[in-house]
Symmetry: C2
Subunit: 360 residues, 2 copies
């Protein structure tokens, strides 16, 4: 069959070389005669792999030594609960910055566990935009500030790291982790569901500064307790072992590509190519202000929405899959995470131009 480019927002495509390697060693990993998923997480061969995956992630993101890296169950939504359970003591308030669907969902979930102050930064107008972080109205003594740097549904990405004046900054980086360089030391906690830029669903990475660990509420489920996870190298309970392994293969692949800096250059080129094609056309549009346009999730709309179904059908036929926009915003969405090669974006742009010509 001809090549498929899968633009799904998540679970998303994984690097082809990663998948081919995983397939080759699927039933006989490291000459064990078993799949990696059939081995004890406490066997030395598995633990060596798991540790190496952590070291590779630390290297890729330059994670300082005073941060734990946890490999957790439960996805991003699990962290919507775990963050307040671990970081929000009674009597304190946490600020939640609302920039789209996911940051809003995080705030709603957090309200179960303590006092939450929501700060809506979305701006209406002809173009969608958000308030610059210097203008956010934050609680001075908040337990933490939570935000979502990249909103996958809305296609809004906040590139500047907010200044929170000593209040721990918590970021849901599910859709932007490893896509460009960041200074981890500016954050108290970073979490990311794996199924966009890391690996398969079912694994969540938590990067948390030492001093924020060990203050959990009494009714914190053990699988959400950062201290328990940190003290047990994420193996207090059986971790999602296969997802952890695949994440490790992705980290190795990313190192081979030249690391985060190198992939960021490619990601920039991919985003430029796609936004340019949208902006130069009178047939497609994206109404997000330049400064906050996501490099990972590019929503776009056909000006004539009656063509949506035809667009999707023909795109699928051309091997360009999962381009349907999220039901909340409609239209189209191209998710172009690290694993999407530039050839995929080129193929999409060519298809868009041809579709436009046929339907002008």
């Amino acid at each position: 069959m001809s090549e498929i480019f899968n633009f799904c927002a998540g679970p998303a495509m994984l690097p082809k070389a990663v998948m081919e390697k995983a397939q080759r060693e699927f039933i006989n990993w490291q000459s064990t005669g078993s799949s990696v998923m059939e081995l004890s997480h406490r066997s030395s061969i598995y633990m060596d792999m798991a540790k190496q995956a952590e070291l590779d992630l630390r290297e890729l993101m330059s994670i300082p030594d005073n941060y734990h890296v946890l490999f957790c169950h439960g996805g991003g939504r699990g962290q919507f609960s775990a963050v307040p359970l671990n970081l929000l003591p009674q009597g304190k308030t946490a600020d939640y910055i609302i920039s789209g669907s996911w940051s809003k969902a995080a705030a709603i979930e957090a309200q179960k566990f303590g006092n939450i102050n929501t700060v809506d930064i979305t701006l209406s107008g002809e173009q969608t935009s958000v308030l610059p972080s210097k203008d956010w109205q934050l609680t001075p003594d908040a337990a933490y500030v939570h935000y979502c740097p990249n909103e996958t549904v809305n296609g809004i990405e906040i590139f500047e790291i907010p200044e929170t004046n000593g209040v721990p900054l918590v970021a849901d980086m599910s859709s932007t982790i490893l896509s460009h360089e960041i200074d981890v030391s500016k954050f108290g906690l970073i979490y990311a569901g794996a199924q966009k830029n890391i690996g398969p669903s079912g694994l969540t990475i938590v990067i948390v500064r030492d001093d924020l660990v060990g203050h959990e509420q009494p009714a914190t489920p053990c699988i959400m307790n950062y201290k328990t996870s940190a003290d047990n190298d994420s193996m207090y309970n059986t971790p999602p072992t296969y997802a952890w392994y695949l994440a490790g293969v992705v980290f190795k692949w990313l190192k081979e590509q030249g690391g985060v800096k190198a992939i960021a250059t490619i990601n920039q080129a991919k985003a430029d190519l796609l936004y340019k094609a949208i902006d130069q056309s009178t047939f497609y549009q994206n109404n997000i202000i330049d400064q906050y346009r996501s490099k990972m999730n590019v929503p776009f709309w056909l000006k004539d929405e009656t063509l949506n179904y035809q667009f999707l059908k023909e795109a699928e036929h051309a091997g360009l899959t999962a381009l349907k926009g999220h039901r909340i915003v409609g239209g189209m969405r191209a998710s172009i995470y690290n694993a999407m090669p530039i050839e995929g974006v080129q193929a999409l742009v060519e298809f868009m131009q041809q579709f436009e010509e046929r339907n002008m």
Copy 2:
């Protein structure tokens, strides 16, 4: 390489035919040109598969229509929290039957979320045994009774289903689900981490009676809320999609073997073979009373424990892996779940006899 028989307690071996099928379709599932793990959980092709997996499990276990089947994150330990969060209202008590390490751990975790009454049924003496369920001292108006029918560490299995006189019975069946026929209607809730008899780690199956859903405590994390999961067909958050798929392939395989009744006959034969070899020897021993000997996890001890290391080393060399007993009880443990063919147990018994002859 020659055949490997992997006796790991979990993550455990999966059926060879399942793994070979999964390998073949790893990067091109159902002609999508993608791996199943790269597809949206909301795509129709994925949802059809997910639904079929549920239907196959319902058929295999004869699950009545008034039970939900949930595909959850978080492993068995996640359910240690989720069960009291969903089933234990303030002011009520839950009974926890203690028969070994796992039921004890469940009780300790549950104490975070409400009043827990522990009922220790272990009996000391020359042989390890437990109190028959008719003699358990239960709280008459308990919110539920929790027990673990098969203790993987201790090798104790309770085959009779306890009579709880209308109090919902909750069972951690992580290591015994699908190994023999049970009457689901006798239970309020059954849960099972997948990594023993179902699939890879990271997936947990919850089978819960309708009337027990919807009474969760206010501070229940959304990923642990049974009602949220039930209302959204286990897709409120992105489920562990690849583990769900593999579970589905295991369910199909089990149907091809003739279902649970047929596999139970094989499991009985495997257990009989191994216990007989232990009992007929003066070199090995298992001190659990016949009636409660686990058919899934068979611990045994060399009478001369100085030979433990040599036994494990030679077993490994013979392709019999992961036989080391749990650190709490020492000795050896052979986990012989559904996926272990009888040839594996035959090979183990032969090795044990030869090792005994060499070291008498």
